[in-house]
């Protein structure tokens, strides 16, 4: 697998082993309203994002709609070329390679299993498709691999000739997972894999993902807005706001001792099924962030309950506080007594 030219030799290593997924300074800019004459307005959907995940770990990306999660996932799947930055999978750079090479190593599981399966193909055809694209094995081997994968995700063999419309949401999501796994990828990008499913089915799918991870030593990037699901699944959490990671760290630290005011607000909005507690009071301005006109300084300051004068003037730098990376002026002062 080392045949790829080593154009990007600076891939990081941990304990002598390369990281499962190493993303460095990824930036993607769209030009909105671009025409033949007009340059258009730049939209920094993903702005200097770096993340590192070790083999077998789960990194969750949390953020609200419009924060750039979807663009980031498309970059990580190789569906778009980034403006700048590098992606390494197990030490190998994947920036200049084509989609096909990408596909063998990184696979997606999408949110809506009703739109992620082609309604005109049978389950067997859908799962086998990647093998045909990459021309892996003989027909007999391919068929066998499809059956193995179906068993792995808990689909009975007799569904092989069924159509997606004959299946429930949970079963369809299993098919989507099987299609992603049939190529034996190293990294799975799960984009809200359970938010379109019923509660009872969500639990089945989360358990399945967890079992598969243990069994196949898979690495997950888990994109979600549901922090209780994130807490359940993730080892690491990255909180995204308007294209930037504002807080990255071990799940326990981020979720139990959130540092960034935005993370605190997100966690404050989680509604656990506890009738004793009423609705939480979250102190967030309603100013809806406009990615086309990001505010100067810290992008969160117009909504931030703890905003200071400096926040609207200077962009905060990345600081490491208690093992968590935070972009916030609150922690810049030497003597800052951490207000949580």
């Amino acid at each position: 697998m080392q045949s790829e030219e080593d154009k990007y030799p600076q891939a990081q290593q941990v304990d002598g082993k390369p990281l499962a997924l190493d993303i460095q300074h990824l930036t993607q800019v769209f030009h909105i309203g671009k025409t033949w004459l007009n340059e258009g307005k730049p939209l920094r959907a993903v702005d200097d994002v770096s993340l590192q995940v070790r083999n077998g770990e789960v990194l969750a990306i949390v953020g609200e709609s419009g924060c750039g999660k979807t663009t980031l996932s498309r970059l990580m799947l190789g569906l778009q070329k980034p403006e700048s930055g590098a992606i390494y999978v197990n030490g190998q750079a994947l920036v200049d390679v084509d989609r096909k090479a990408f596909a063998r190593r990184v696979q997606p599981v999408f949110q809506d299993p009703y739109s992620s399966l082609n309604p005109r193909r049978t389950i067997g055809e859908i799962i086998m498709d990647p093998l045909l694209i990459h021309d892996i094995g003989t027909l007999e081997e391919q068929r066998q691999r499809v059956e193995e994968t179906m068993a792995k995700v808990g689909l009975p063999h007799r569904m092989i000739n069924s159509y997606p419309s004959q299946m429930s949401g949970g079963q369809r999501q299993r098919v989507a997972i099987a299609r992603a796994l049939v190529m034996k990828p190293e990294v799975l990008i799960c984009d809200e894999p359970t938010s379109a499913l019923d509660v009872s089915v969500q639990a089945q799918i989360l358990n399945l993902l967890q079992e598969l991870r243990n069994e196949l030593n898979l690495t997950y990037i888990f994109i979600s807005h549901d922090l209780s699901v994130v807490e359940y699944m993730a080892d690491y959490v990255a909180v995204m706001y308007l294209g930037r990671f504002v807080e990255v760290g071990p799940a326990r630290d981020v979720l139990e001792r959130p540092k960034h005011p935005y993370t605190q607000a997100l966690l404050g909005s989680v509604l656990t099924p506890d009738p004793e507690l009423g609705l939480p009071d979250i102190d967030l301005g309603r100013g809806f962030p406009d990615p086309l006109n990001p505010p100067p300084g810290c992008r969160f300051h117009p909504r931030c309950p703890k905003a200071m004068a400096v926040c609207s003037q200077k962009e905060p730098e990345k600081l490491t506080v208690d093992g968590t990376e935070v972009e916030c002026h609150l922690y810049a002062k030497e003597d800052a007594d951490i207000p949580v």
């Binding site: 609200e64 359940y232 099924p273 009738p275 507690l277 309603r286």
Partner: protein
């Protein structure tokens, strides 16, 4: 907070529903979408219908509004809204109630606002239709309400089109639209499902405060148990067209009794729960087909406690304690052993 009642239990109910059933004709026979559902709401009270897709919670709300599809047949021994029998009203009288005395909020505010009209026109139209009066009066009311629901620049917002607003703002506009007249009852069908978590909390807070101010009854339909626990005074858990457990929110969440309610609560991750240490519970199987005759308990094919009688016996609602009932043949103590260990 939710311990303090927002309503007076002695008030007469705004809406009283008894034995509401909806049958839908499908090619394969008759689909029993809703099966003898009963509940009532008082002024200022929040009742939540909670359940998974296909449990009949949305059909129930459409039945109350008499907005069912043509193939559906509604029967009930009682649907009394504010002293009127809804089932007996003509279509014309019903249209006068909708949007006027009964307000509805749907999941997707984008599709419930008409994209080709300005927000202001849509708000005014509702007022003019139900209350008459002049355009000026309507405009004043719209501005007053927008201010009330915390919209910063109401006059300017009223001239905008739905697509110029964010999801949260659109849902606020839906709420304003509903308030243009003076509804006694709000039916909110998954009002926050399409919204971000921080916006969800803000919208729920808004609903709650308006409800207290105007003493409106709220029927909140959702699958999100967190929203239910934090918002509802009373809960009716629905499964396969039936209410399988109902009671006060505190009772149902603190002492869930029906195996389905217990299963649902075990399916959502609790604070501190991690996949590497303790797995989530799950409910195997799927909802049975509701076409044709339904015998016995509808949950039996997914239930860990099912036994022979479940397939044949008439399973009615029975009391756990006063005001908390569940639909199962087994006594409440049976399930105590398998209770989820929870901090």
């Amino acid at each position: 907070m939710s311990g303090a009642h927002h309503y007076n239990p002695d008030d007469p109910p705004v809406l009283e529903v008894e034995d509401l059933s909806v049958d839908i004709k499908v090619p394969a026979g008759t689909l029993h979408a809703v099966n003898k559902v009963s509940f009532s709401v008082r002024p200022g009270e929040t009742l939540s219908l909670v359940g998974e897709s296909g449990c009949g919670k949305s059909i129930t709300s459409l039945a109350i509004m008499r907005l069912l599809p043509k193939a559906a047949r509604l029967s009930a021994s009682k649907i009394i809204f504010d002293g009127q029998d809804l089932a007996a009203l003509s279509e014309k009288q019903m249209a006068r109630l909708r949007g006027n005395r009964i307000g509805m909020i749907f999941q997707d505010p984008m599709t419930s606002l008409n994209p080709v009209y300005r927000i202001g026109d849509q708000l005014e139209e509702i007022y003019l239709r139900h209350k008459g009066g002049g355009r000026r009066e309507a405009r004043e009311r719209a501005e007053y309400l927008l201010e009330k629901i915390g919209i910063i620049n109401p006059t300017q917002r009223l001239t905008q089109f739905p697509h110029q607003l964010s999801g949260g703002l659109r849902q606020r506009m839906m709420i304003a639209m509903m308030l243009m007249c003076d509804p006694k009852l709000i039916i909110a069908d998954e009002p926050t499902t399409a919204l971000d978590v921080t916006v969800q909390v803000q919208i729920l807070q808004l609903l709650r405060s308006l409800q207290e101010e105007f003493r409106m009854a709220l029927i909140l339909i959702t699958h999100n148990l967190g929203v239910v626990a934090r918002m509802a005074d009373h809960v009716a858990v629905m499964y396969a067209g039936q209410v399988v457990e109902k009671g006060s929110s505190a009772d149902v969440f603190r002492h869930p009794t029906h195996p389905y309610t217990r299963g649902l609560l075990e399916c959502i991750p609790h604070p501190g729960q991690s996949a590497t240490r303790n797995k989530l519970g799950s409910i195997p199987g799927i909802v049975p087909s509701l076409v044709g005759r339904i015998d016995g308990c509808t949950f039996r094919n997914r239930c860990n406690y099912a036994f022979g009688d479940c397939a044949t016996a008439q399973v009615g609602l029975r009391d756990v304690e006063d005001g908390h009932s569940y639909r199962c043949l087994l006594p409440p103590e049976t399930f105590a052993a398998g209770k989820l260990e929870k901090a």
